[in-house]
Symmetry: C2
Subunit: 191 residues, 2 copies
């Protein structure tokens, strides 16, 4: 259902366990980026009424999550600082084609895959974290990531047939799995 | 209270009257840009807790207004299309200093002035438009612009003394009045 071509390697869970505070800070940045992505899509495709309406909901929801993470950081005395972003998002965005309608389709599918990977990882965090509060927190978040994933895939269908979208999602999911397999040396939500 | 150094020229009201549909479309874009500005400030100054909290509220509110304008456009059968943006915002942003904390102060004060000018013009639209629905619409919006103006000025005080902020606001307001006086050939909310 999430269209991912791999499960996260154990290596990632070890990165998380050893750097939980950094992962939480990065998670706050991810929610900001997700809000920003939705806002940018809304700006780019103003004439798509369904997209515009849905993106507004997603912006609002991501900002709510952002504040939930900020609250957690504050309660734990972790300072919210800037982090050098991982290369995951950048590498995925580099795969997007430049010409419309492919550009729209690809950006929506990349957003869908990022949501899918977050969902998969939030479930892992729910199941593996010893910290009960965080485990419950991630258990409360993963469903919205799955919902956003489905929303982005559905919106991509405005820019191509079901077959085209399915084939492209498959290609991008293969690339996404390779990026995840290569990893990133710093601990990040998508490292 | 709005710290503006000029009132809008009659020339602008004539532009509006002759191009009401374009002004409405541009208004939708302005609400998007206002949401985007608030989001970008939130991203840039993550460590400022009050700013982050307030910016989230402003993003949400601007997106609500955006949807109100979209609804008006739809009811009137006006297609929401991209418009070449006016030079107002760009010229103001070019005045922002590049080094912190001046950069933060200036971006917040420029945002404050844009809100102030919108407020002043929405009051003019309320008072001058023959179209009763639109007149009431702008009458319902101007107060939030005034509130946002005050919020941005208050947040700027985190980046300098009251005297410094007051002096800089004065300088920027002088420049803003010059940009408004020069005008823009296409009808825009800030032309």
């Amino acid at each position: 259902m999430l269209h991912l071509h791999s499960t996260s390697p154990d290596r990632w869970l070890r990165q998380v366990e050893e750097n939980l505070n950094t992962i939480l800070i990065d998670h706050a940045h991810c929610e900001q980026k997700a809000a920003s992505t939705a806002m940018n899509l809304m700006f780019e495709y103003v004439e798509n009424e369904a997209l515009t309406a849905t993106m507004t909901e997603i912006v609002t929801e991501e900002l709510e999550h952002f504040h939930m993470v900020l609250k957690l950081l504050k309660e734990r005395g972790i300072r919210f600082i800037k982090l050098k972003p991982g290369t995951y998002g950048r590498q995925l965005k580099a795969l997007c084609r430049r010409q419309e309608p492919h550009k729209a389709m690809d950006h929506l599918l990349v957003a869908a895959l990022i949501e899918a990977r977050s969902c998969e990882r939030f479930v892992l965090l729910r199941d593996h974290l010893d910290d009960r509060e965080l485990s419950e927190f991630y258990g409360s978040l993963y469903e919205s990531e799955a919902r956003h994933h489905a929303t982005y895939v559905r919106l991509a269908m405005d820019y191509g047939s079901q077959e085209e979208v399915g084939a492209r999602l498959d290609e991008l999911a293969t690339a996404e799995a390779e990026i995840i397999a290569a990893g990133y040396e710093q601990p990040r939500v998508h490292s």
